[in-house]
């Protein structure tokens, strides 16, 4: 079986339809390790790949006023038992372009790996980008993910990001996102992570509300069990009139897991406002009892609540 066929099977196994790799109307990149398996540009979405020995650079441009109907898929896998994957992705949305990306981190078969993803995203005036980043890991706990992103959202632009790592062991996750929002820009950052055993999660998400009436929400949902640890840092700075930011962090911990939330709120304009809420603890007893009186066992109720917050 070719690597590409294995790749297609892997994509299907996480609930995606690998036929998207043949669809002429769907832009995509498919990469195993550092090897480019497939790429496709479509009208309005240009994808250029530059390959070095241990670094691959992708440049993706969406032309102005283009509304891309099918999501652009970025698919990453590693079939070797051990390895390193180093990627830089530059995404540029020209004015009033609208597109969504789905990134698949397919690491269900690898034992030891390092996945480095460094994104720069520029969203021009009135453009809209939705970026869903779903990781699927093996049970080895030997995967390291270093993911960083620098994002600029122009006037009246929109950026939505949803990072999830809820299948398999996290291993070590270092996530560092920073967003600059201009006038009337809207930013939503959502992350959902389930840590097990001795998984280690370190996540920093920062939004600078530089423009007037720019808005942002940072929402983090983390479940931890075993001896997993998580440090979730959310930073929002309100620097302009009418800027509104909110951060909402919920961590559910079981066993000997340790969760930490660090909200940083900075406001430098008298007409800006930033709020935050954080809750860390075991599962709410009233929620458990409500599900139990509906016929679930304690274990079933616990699982359902955890899955719910990671939904």
């Amino acid at each position: 079986m070719s690597v590409f066929d294995k790749f297609r099977l892997l994509l299907n196994s996480v609930g995606e339809n690998s036929k998207l790799l043949e669809d002429q109307n769907t832009a995509h990149i498919a990469v195993d390790g550092q090897v480019l398996l497939s790429k496709q540009s479509i009208p309005g979405v240009s994808i250029e790949i530059e390959q070095h020995n241990d670094l691959t650079i992708a440049r993706i441009t969406v032309t102005s006023h283009t509304q891309v109907s099918n999501p652009v898929h970025l698919c990453f896998s590693m079939f070797q038992q051990a390895g390193r994957q180093n990627f830089r992705v530059h995404i540029f949305l020209e004015p009033y372009a609208k597109v969504s990306f789905i990134s698949h981190g397919l690491f269900t078969t690898v034992d030891t790996a390092k996945h480095i993803m460094d994104k720069t995203i520029e969203i021009s005036e009135g453009a809209s980008l939705s970026f869903t980043d779903s990781h699927f890991h093996s049970q080895s706990g030997g995967i390291k993910v270093l993911s960083s992103a620098r994002i600029k959202v122009g006037k009246y632009g929109y950026y939505f990001s949803d990072f999830s790592l809820t299948t398999g062991r996290v291993g070590k996750l270092n996530l560092d996102y920073s967003v600059e929002a201009e006038e009337h820009a809207v930013v939503e950052l959502i992350s959902r992570i389930f840590g097990h055993a001795n998984d280690s999660i370190n996540m920093t998400e920062k939004v600078n509300l530089n423009g007037r009436f720019s808005h942002s929400v940072i929402k983090s949902r983390v479940a931890l069990e075993g001896e997993a640890t998580a440090i979730i840092t959310g930073i929002t700075e309100g620097c302009a009139e009418g800027a509104r930011g909110h951060m909402d962090c919920l961590e559910i911990i079981k066993d000997k897991a340790v969760g930490q939330s660090i909200p940083v709120v900075k406001v430098s304009h008298p007409l800006a406002k930033v709020t935050h809420e954080a809750a860390i603890g075991t599962i709410d007893n009233k929620q458990l009892e409500t599900l139990i009186v509906h016929g679930l066992s304690l274990e079933q109720a616990t699982d359902l609540i955890v899955l719910g917050i990671l939904h």
């Binding site: 919920l250 007893n285 409500t290 009186v293 509906h294 016929g295």
Partner: protein, 240 residues
């Protein structure tokens, strides 16, 4: 009728304060039994003791359900025997839809259950049970869940709190429907129009049941300020 739930000489003390004091109460199988009393008299405490919620276990006395002494049973075990409960302020859940919630035990007729509580299935089945839902909507979902799971004993703690006045008649009909489906209902309320639908009622004051009779008589006693237990102090009665 046979007793389904017997509460015998139950005492419950919290923070060294007696909340329930040698309380006796019998709920007959198939009836709606209203438990009436002013705020803070221990109605919700009694509900949680019967359900076996965490932190609510009798200091003395017995709770017997369907001829089994259950006061040492876990909440799971009690639920498995057919006891269920709607809290005065139901819990909210992120990421759990109304459909998932009503379908926890693979029940059928979810749409009909929602319709009975005045909610449109097309609009609500895919809604999340999170804070985007109002208190009244959440309470209706709980009542719909009781229609779906058909417990043997259904404890309803203040079922109309958070419900708008215009919808109270709808909730009353739902409570009667729960009974018609075969459930016995312990109906906790301090509202006359709700308690009056019961087959029998009991008045709780000073940690004791001071009267069990028809709803009319119990409501009359409640309103006539004739409490002999607290001499009007605890339940705001002004004279014996």
């Amino acid at each position: 009728m046979m007793p389904l739930l017997e509460i015998r000489h139950v005492t419950f003390i919290a923070d060294k304060e007696p909340i329930l004091d040698n309380l006796d109460l019998i709920i007959q199988e198939g009836e709606i039994h209203a438990l009436i009393g002013t705020n803070g008299t221990g109605k919700s405490t009694l509900a949680r003791l019967v359900m076996g919620c965490e932190g609510y276990h009798t200091n003395s006395g017995k709770i017997i359900f369907a001829q089994q002494q259950i006061d040492k049973y876990s909440i799971e075990k009690r639920a498995s025997l057919g006891i269920s409960m709607v809290w005065q302020e139901p819990a909210y859940f992120e990421g759990i839809s109304v459909r998932d919630y009503l379908n926890l035990n693979n029940q059928e007729n979810l749409s009909e259950c929602l319709l009975s509580v005045g909610l449109n299935a097309d609009e609500y089945l895919d809604r999340m049970l999170d804070k985007t839902m109002s208190g009244g909507e959440r309470k209706r979902i709980e009542l719909a869940s009781m229609l779906a799971i058909r417990p043997r004993l259904c404890i309803l703690d203040e079922p109309v709190s958070g419900i708008d006045l215009l919808s109270i008649n709808n909730i009353i009909s739902v409570i009667k429907q729960i009974q018609r489906q075969g459930s016995t209902v312990l109906l906790i309320s301090h509202r006359e129009e709700i308690a009056s639908i019961a087959d029998r009622a009991s008045l709780l004051c000073g940690g004791k049941i001071i009267l069990t009779s028809t709803p009319e008589k119990v409501i009359q006693s409640y309103k006539s300020r004739s409490c002999v237990i607290c001499d009007g102090r605890e339940c705001n009665h002004v004279s014996i």
